[in-house]
């Protein structure tokens, strides 16, 4: 017998990253700029806090919303970093990574056919998560010549009577884009005017460079009551495997999200929650050290790409650069596959992040400078060989 998979699941394409990952897996000895997670191990004091909690035998379920202690830490952290106050016991939910929080927020908000706007190129899970929640995903293209900033004018054009949610992710995976505060204000005003809910995934908010502050849309006037602020410890504190994210939102929405979360997940793992308390309360200096390192690598890699003739703007956030490869005449997929086969360097084709990512590749600098150096050298050789090939 063949098992009939639900239509809306069957129709979801596999992640372009996953496809590519399988090719990389089949080869040995590859230098990878394809990794979307910090190369640092979780700072020791955070790991040590988790070990301590295990020693104490704290191994049970927690409240569905998460440990009250952790929610208090989240509330204080969000207040000091984002400038928005949330009631720890009713407006905060601890999730299994931001990914789960996105899923349950969408499921809690969408009726079939409701439209969700998101900017593209973007993280690979947004469109599928919307579709799985029976919503209609509407991408708004951002442009490389505009440093992938989301323009209020483009948002306005995409709004229809069925639009319910605007999803934001700044700093952006895969482009590293950040938002100028004045443009963010215009978008906030649009959301108020059209009564949209904003889901803002600010997982990279600590990783901003050039001493730029991270503006959160939740802090703008009239926004807190219509915003789901999504954040977590994965990127800032190098804790991807711990799977701790959180959502801050108005009480009635947190309550609705909790109803899904309690039946699907029950609660995030307690040892990870204990570690997250340590990270949020005392992780600042570890985070700053890692950020400093990322910033130096960013400068290095941006210079490297521009020097070899691949135009690369200098992003102010996350740990990705998104150089343009259209000059090589290859699609992002062909470029990445050939680079992998010929030079054993893995980058992610920009097309994996939506059609507007085409013509670019995503390179993560969350990898050691020694590796980045070799990668840049090899990509330089690859581009030179492509040019020579054309000339011949």
């Amino acid at each position: 017998m063949s098992i009939a998979i639900a239509d809306h699941v069957r129709d979801i394409p596999r992640s372009g990253i996953r496809d590519f990952f399988e090719v990389v897996q089949s080869m040995g000895d590859v230098i990878s700029l394809g990794i979307g997670e910090p190369d640092f191990a979780t700072p020791w004091h955070i790991r040590e806090a988790a070990i301590y909690s295990l020693e104490k035998g704290r191994t049970g379920y927690t409240s569905n919303l998460g440990l009250p202690r952790l929610r208090r830490s989240i509330s204080e952290y969000v207040k000091s970093h984002f400038g928005v106050s949330y009631e720890p016991l009713s407006e905060v939910l601890v999730s299994v990574g931001v990914s789960e929080a996105i899923d349950i927020a969408l499921r809690a908000l969408l009726n079939p056919g409701d439209e969700v706007l998101y900017h593209e190129p973007c993280y690979v899970s947004y469109a599928p998560s919307i579709v799985l929640a029976r919503g209609v995903a509407r991408a708004i293209a951002t442009r490389s010549e505009d440093r992938f900033v989301l323009r209020a004018a483009d948002v306005e054009k995409a709004i229809t009577p069925r639009t319910k949610i605007l999803m934001l992710n700044f700093p952006t995976n895969p482009t590293g884009a950040t938002m100028p505060p004045d443009e963010l204000e215009k978008i906030a005003a649009l959301c108020v005017r059209h009564n949209l809910v904003v889901m803002t995934d600010e997982i990279y908010s600590e990783l901003t460079y050039d001493r730029a502050d991270h503006p959160s849309i939740a802090a703008l006037p009239g926004m807190k009551e219509r915003t789901v602020l999504l954040h977590g410890v994965s990127k800032a504190f190098a804790m991807t495997g711990w799977r701790i994210g959180f959502a801050c939102a108005p009480e009635e929405l947190i309550e609705a999200m909790m109803r899904i979360h309690q039946y699907a997940i029950l609660c995030a793992p307690i040892m990870s929650q204990e570690a997250a308390i340590e990270a949020l309360d005392r992780g600042e200096s570890s985070m700053l050290k890692m950020r400093q390192e990322y910033e130096l690598r960013r400068n290095y890699i941006v210079q490297g790409f521009n020097a070899m003739g691949l135009e690369c703007f200098k992003p102010q956030g996350a740990f990705y650069v998104f150089p343009k490869i259209t000059g090589t005449g290859l699609t992002s997929r062909d470029f990445s596959l050939r680079l992998l086969r010929e030079k054993k360097v893995a980058v992610v084709p920009g097309g994996a992040f939506g059609p507007s990512g085409e013509g670019h590749v995503r390179c993560s600098y969350a990898t050691g400078l020694d590796q980045i150096k070799i990668a840049i050298e090899r990509i330089g050789e690859f581009c030179a060989e492509l040019r020579d090939g054309d000339a011949a």
Binding site: S15, I17, F20, F21, V24, Q25, V30, S32, G34, I35, G36, E37, D39, A41, Y123, V124, S125, N173, R211, Q292, L296, R297, N299, Y300, Q303, G304, A346, V348, L369, K373
Partner: protein
């Protein structure tokens, strides 16, 4: 520039051999600017020197290291400084700190064997008039030195491509 000076010193402290071209790229400066800045730091005595961190497990040079706590009587005019510099000038002394707490100076001494260190303490250190008492501890094993681990953690395996 001013912010990048901190970053420059950081980089040199982590690895003084980092190629100047790499430093320039990381700090968004030219190589000439980096070289000029390093020269200035050396000239002004901000950078005193460059050293190598040796893994003693792999390169055992038959050197004995002792940490010695020293109680001294400060002098009416020189305080601790003069007596500290007198002690620090012995070539056996690698490091010398003024400490708060139960004793005054903490010195790290290297010599070729135990007897040599005993000789240094008995004949040189203790005979200085201002020195009241000493307590000598020998190093058995090094786990971490100047921020570098001597037993390295195995790097965990990472996925080659992830979202």
């Amino acid at each position: 520039m001013p912010g990048s000076m901190e970053a420059l010193i950081d980089l040199l402290q982590k690895n003084a051999l980092t190629p100047r071209e790499d430093i320039a790229r990381m700090l968004d400066l030219t190589v000439a600017q980096v070289e000029a800045e390093i020269a200035r730091l050396e000239r002004e005595g901000v950078i005193l020197g460059y050293q190598t961190i040796i893994n003693r497990e792999k390169w055992d040079t038959d050197v004995v290291t002792a940490v010695i706590e020293v109680k001294v009587t400060p002098e009416r005019e020189g305080g601790f400084d003069r007596i500290a510099s007198r002690i620090a000038k012995f070539e056996e002394v690698q490091t010398c700190y003024l400490m708060s707490g139960g004793y005054d100076l903490l010195i790290v001494v290297e010599a070729k064997n135990l007897r040599a260190i005993a000789g240094f303490v008995a004949e040189k250190l203790s005979t200085i008039e201002a020195v009241q008492a000493t307590a000598t501890h020998f190093r058995l094993k090094t786990y971490k030195e100047n921020g570098a681990f001597h037993h390295f953690e195995q790097a965990a395996e990472r996925l080659a491509v992830s979202p």
